[in-house]
Every structure is written in structure tokens, then in C-alpha cells.
């Protein structure tokens, strides 16, 4: 069993953790940390806690404490963003981890949360940005090129960071970069919204799943794919309990032209975690799936991802999907130059 597979199985079948050797645990902890999923493993391990070796209990307890810290900070950032945006007059839709947390979804259990992601109508962006600036957030991006790139081509404003708390907020106006070939319907996304506490919203279930699926496949590199696919597994398993969900999802998928990425995400989630997926949506495994699976199984027992040719192919594909070729060359050249500049003496 690959180190990555130990993680996948621990999540999908927690009882399997009873049979892990010390070696297996050491690998699980490393890969779990690298994939930011160890907190989730810890939550899944609660029913069999007493059967776990002490060394595992120590690491998992620590991870639960780290996650608890994340959730406290995330709730506070949501609170502050809601306060700042109260009078802007547009719906504020939470996304990703913060959405799962605020809506009380199973996907939030044990989940590490970093930035706060919100979706607002594109027309409201100037007002939203102004309100955030007035309440202590600053622009985080370093230079004019990045700023211009973000505003012109991306699906979000440049990230904003709060000057006292350091919390980061990402303001989106749609779910995929404007340069991508597929164009989801931003208005329909916003219309799908469901009210949650404190005057805030989350995306409708189908749209929430589509957002997650769009990013597994579309970020091409499948970076963070293991966790992204676990989110999809949790969301799909939870929402499937509502009759008619899969039909609704199919409808939304076609409206937003996301059939290919959705199918791929569902296939991969099924492959990793055994998600129950209707055949009509799953489609057939293809070469990209195979490259993705190689990457998803790529971490060694110390959690390190070697750079393989298959990963490089995925990387190239990812950028290809997100932007036209001429822009891509220029963008990559700038990124390469900046990485060297950032290194510091020890």
C-alpha cells in the first residue's frame, strides 16, 4: 500500500486504522500533514480512539488542537467580514472551508481552514473592496503586474489581508478564471444561494459541489487534490441524501458547462474514497485521470512529492487550461525570476 493509500483508506474506512503498524502510522502522519488532512483523520479516528497507540493519539490530539485554532480564527474572520459588508447591499456568499463551517456541514469536520473565500456579484466589487479597505484590510499583492493580472484575468480580486489580524480574504466574482475556456454562469451561481446565519449565504448544494469539482480538475496540477477530493466526497455523500440531488446537479452542471471537470472529480473521488456516484455522471477513466492518480499517490512515506514527468505534464496542462499561450510564457518567466529573489540567508 502506498503511503498515500494509507491516508485515503484511513479517511474512507477509519476502522482500518486499527491494523496500522508503527511504520504505517509514521507515514500516515507525514502524508496527512502534507495534504492538510491529518485533522480530518483525527476526527474520523474518534470512535476507535482507545484502540490507537499512544504516539498516534498524541499527534492526532495535537492536530485537533491546531484545527480548533483554525476554526476559531475562521469564525472570527467571517464575523468581521459580515460586519464590514453589512451595508454594501449585495449578497455575500461564503465558499469552501468557511462555507462548510458556517453552514455546519460534515465536510467541515477536522478541516484546516486558511483564507476566507467569498463570492459577490461582479458589479458590487468596487463597493465590497471599498468596505473592506475601510475596515482595516489591505491589498496583499506585491506589484503592479500581479495586481493587473488579477483584476483583468482572474475570477477574484487580489487577496486582501487584515492589517491587525493578518487574516486573508479572497473576494471572488465567479468560480473560474476569466481566461479559462469554460465559462460558468456567475449570475446563476449567485442565484442558487442559500441563506445561513448572520445575513450570509452559501452556494446551493449542486453549485457548491460544482465549485469544488471545477477546482480539482481545473487547477490542472491537482495541487491539494487529495483534500479537494475529500471535500467532494463529503459534499456528495451528504447532499445525495436529499432526493433529486443528482438530477439537480446534472442540470446545473450543464448550465455551467462543467460536465467534464465534474465527471472527472466524481470518478477520482470514487477511486480514492469509494464515493457513491451515479454512472450517468461518472463517465470513463481517461489519460488525465491516470496522470492525476499518479500524482495523488505520489507522496513518499515522509510526505514528499517527487517531481515526476507525469506531474510536469499536469502542470503544463493546468496553465494551458487557465490562460492563452502567449500570456502563459510571459507569466511563467516572471514567476521563475521572482522565486530566486525571495530566498533568504539562514
Amino acid at each position: 500500500m502506498t503511503p498515500a493509500a494509507i491516508l485515503h483508506r484511513a479517511l474512507a474506512e477509519p476502522e482500518s486504522m486499527r491494523g496500522l503498524s508503527a511504520d504505517d502510522w509514521n507515514a500516515l502522519i507525514r502524508v496527512g500533514r502534507a495534504e492538510r488532512l491529518l485533522g480530518t483523520v483525527a476526527e474520523r479516528a474518534v470512535p476507535l480512539w482507545d484502540a490507537l497507540p499512544a504516539g498516534a493519539q498524541t499527534c492526532l490530539t495535537e492536530e485537533r488542537d491546531i484545527t480548533r485554532g483554525d476554526h476559531l480564527a475562521a469564525r472570527w474572520e467571517i464575523d468581521r467580514a459580515a460586519l464590514a459588508l453589512r451595508n454594501v447591499g449585495c449578497p455575500v456568499i461564503l465558499m469552501k472551508g468557511s462555507a462548510y463551517l458556517h453552514a455546519g456541514l460534515p465536510a467541515a469536520q477536522g478541516r484546516r481552514i486558511g483564507d476566507l473565500d467569498i463570492l459577490v456579484p461582479r458589479a458590487a466589487l468596487p463597493a465590497v473592496e471599498a468596505a473592506l479597505l475601510a475596515h482595516g484590510w489591505l491589498q496583499a499583492k506585491e506589484n503592479a503586474y500581479d495586481d493587473h493580472y488579477y483584476r483583468t484575468w482572474m475570477h477574484e480580486l487580489p487577496p486582501m489581508v487584515h492589517k491587525e489580524r493578518g487574516g486573508v480574504i479572497d473576494v471572488h466574482h465567479t468560480i473560474l478564471p476569466l481566461t479559462a475556456r469554460l465559462k460558468p454562469d456567475a449570475d446563476a451561481l449567485i442565484e442558487s444561494r442559500v441563506a445561513v446565519a448572520d445575513g450570509l449565504f452559501v452556494l446551493g448544494p449542486a453549485e457548491m459541489l460544482l465549485h469544488s469539482a471545477a477546482h480539482v480538475a481545473y487547477d490542472g496540477e491537482f495541487e491539494g487534490g487529495t483534500r479537494n477530493l475529500w471535500d467532494i466526497h463529503c459534499l456528495a455523500s451528504d447532499f445525495a441524501q436529499t432526493p433529486g440531488f443528482w438530477d439537480r446537479l446534472t442540470e446545473a452542471t450543464d448550465r455551467h458547462q462543467l460536465r467534464v471537470p465534474l465527471s472527472r472529480a466524481l470518478r477520482l473521488a470514487r477511486r480514492l474514497y469509494g464515493t457513491d456516484v451515479p454512472e450517468t455522471l461518472a463517465g470513463r477513466m481517461d489519460l488525465v485521470d491516470r496522470l492525476a492518480l499518479r500524482k495523488l499517490h505520489g507522496r513518499d512515506r515522509f510526505g514528499h512529492q517527487g517531481a515526476k514527468l507525469s506531474d510536469r505534464l499536469l502542470y503544463m496542462r493546468g496553465h494551458w487550461l487557465r490562460m492563452p499561450p502567449l500570456m502563459l510564457t510571459e507569466h511563467l518567466a516572471r514567476k521563475a525570476f521572482r522565486r530566486k529573489e525571495r530566498a533568504q540567508p539562514v
Partner: protein, 296 residues
């Protein structure tokens, strides 16, 4: 799973356990020499944090070898280290895991030392004097070294838990301690680091053996060394003590109410003093005078 073929060493320091590895055998040999007194296993074979010193590029495995770190909690971009400083790199990696990943206690950048079952916490900026004073106390009759870099505050009681790693002496304090501690307790001289010359001093074996025994916090001291200064001391207000402790903790702000209460307990339980001195002898005398005063 494919077995790991690199030389490696597991070691325990206080409540934490680390697995250090590198393809550069000399780095692990140096680790084994320096950490010879430290437990090499955990009870069930599961360790807390892995730190690897890996070649910075495939070429650098063999040509002008240098290395960078890969750890559970990753460093930001840093320039590679030459292989001669590999052991320092691994130490940095361990420090980083404690500073960023550890949540079992409140972690304070501070030194600490125990006499009987009570302990003193030495706080202050790098270079002010706390490391040297803690090294002096480490080899002073009646004192048990608890740590020079990290002090660990218990979350439920006013206790300090030991983290008695090899003491990191820098520049002038190296000679000061060479005069006071047995030669066989010192590690190799490491020159050309960003901080100057470094030499490790192992705490006495008894302090390493007692690494799992906490002590009750009884005194907080902020020591300052200044050439030729006359010995002086003043009490610190609790506000001042709070601010200093919070500023030197890597994780208190991330640990919510438990973190707050742990620091509060320290303030409530132990008086605090700022002390200044111009020599090692004055430092020890002043410190022990205060100690007798508060523990009488």
C-alpha cells in the same frame, strides 16, 4: 512501503520526539555523537516530527555538497547550508517544528532551570543574556537545566516541562563555559554561521535523564548582560511580564483560552524581576539572591 535507505536517528527531547535523516552520512554521524545521551526510541515506534536534510539539488549531493530542509512544518525559502553545518540545519528544523506545530504546551522562547521541584524562567531577547545564564546554571551545584531555547508551560497547572536540548553557545559565551564545564560535554566548533561561531554544550547527563520531570514555576527573570555594569535588579509589573511572555511565545495566540490561562497562571504564581550584571559571577550571585528571596 519502500524502506527508507538514508541514515537516520530518532531522538526524544522532553515531551517531543523527532526523526532526523539525511543521505549525508556525516551529518547523521555528527548527530549521533552530539545526542549520544538522548533516548533513541519512542515507546511505540511512532515519532512526532520528521526533519530531513536533503541535497539542495541532485548535483549538490556530490559536488560542493549543500543541503536544505524538508520537514513536517516547512521552512520558508532559505538559502542552502553547506554540509558541514548540516547538524545545525537539523536543529533549526527541530526548532521550527516546535515553534510552528507544537500545541501540547505554551511554547515560550526562554531558558529555564530548576532547583528541587521549583523552576525559574529566563526571558528576554536573543543575545541579552538568558542562554549564557542558563548555561552557567546548568553546571552550577543545586540546579537542573530544563532548556535554553524553549520553555514549555503546562496547560493545566503552573508547571514548566523540560526541553533540555544541547545548549547552543555563541561567540564569547563559548569561552566562558569552556572554563566551567567538562571538555567531553562539548560538541564541535562550528564557524561561519550567520550568528558567528557556535558550539554546543550538552547539559549534565542527570538533566537529560530527568527530561520528563516538570517543575513548578516560582520565579520569572529577564536577565541583561552589559559589559562592566554594576549588578542591579528591579521588580517587573505583571503587565510588563505578560507583554514579554506573550511576545516571546510562538503559539499562545493560537491556543485560545487554554493559552491565555497558562500565561495567566505563570503571572499569578511567580514574581518577576529584571536583572542586569557585568560578569558571570555577578549574574549567578544576583540570580541566586533573588531565588532565595522568593522561595523562602
Amino acid at each position: 512501503m519502500t524502506p527508507d535507505r538514508w541514515p537516520s536517528r530518532t531522538l526524544r527531547i522532553g515531551p517531543a520526539s523527532f526523526h532526523l535523516r539525511s543521505p549525508f552520512r556525516r551529518v547523521i554521524d555528527e548527530v549521533n555523537a552530539l545526542y549520544r545521551d538522548y533516548p533513541a526510541e519512542t515507546a511505540d515506534g511512532i515519532y512526532d516530527y520528521a526533519v530531513s536534510a536533503v541535497p539542495s539539488s541532485p548535483l549538490r549531493r556530490w559536488v560542493n555538497p549543500n543541503l536544505r530542509l524538508e520537514c513536517d512544518f516547512e521552512p520558508f525559502d532559505t538559502l542552502p547550508l553547506p554540509v558541514e553545518l548540516g547538524m545545525l540545519g537539523l536543529e533549526m528544523g527541530m526548532n521550527l517544528q516546535m515553534a510552528v506545530g507544537y500545541r501540547r504546551h505554551v511554547v515560550v522562547h526562554a531558558a529555564s532551570s530548576a532547583s528541587g521541584d521549583k523552576a525559574a524562567l529566563l526571558i528576554g531577547d536573543s543575545g541579552a543574556g538568558k542562554s549564557t545564564l542558563s548555561a552557567l546554571l546548568a553546571y552550577r551545584e543545586g540546579w537542573r537545566h530544563l532548556g535554553d531555547e524553549f520553555a514549555l508551560l503546562d496547560l493545566d497547572a503552573p508547571l514548566l516541562h523540560p526541553f533540555p536540548r544541547p545548549i547552543s553557545l555563541k561567540n564569547a559565551s563559548i569561552a566562558a563555559m569552556e572554563a566551567r564545564a567538562p571538555a567531553d560535554r562539548f560538541g564541535p566548533v562550528l564557524e561561519g554561521t550567520v550568528k558567528g561561531t557556535i558550539r554546543h554544550l550538552l547539559p549534565p547527563a542527570a538533566a537529560i535523564d530527568a527530561m520528563e520531570t516538570p517543575a513548578e514555576i516560582a520565579l520569572v527573570v529577564a536577565p541583561h548582560f552589559r559589559e562592566n555594569a554594576a549588578p542591579a535588579w528591579r521588580p517587573m509589573t505583571r503587565t510588563e511580564t505578560y507583554v514579554r511572555l506573550a511576545a516571546s511565545s510562538t503559539n499562545q495566540a493560537l491556543m485560545g483560552e487554554a493559552g491565555f490561562e497558562a500565561v495567566w497562571r505563570c503571572l499569578a504564581h511567580a514574581p518577576a524581576f529584571d536583572i542586569m550584571y557585568g560578569s558571570s559571577d555577578d549574574a549567578l550571585e544576583l540570580f541566586e539572591t533573588l531565588w532565595r528571596k522568593v522561595t523562602a
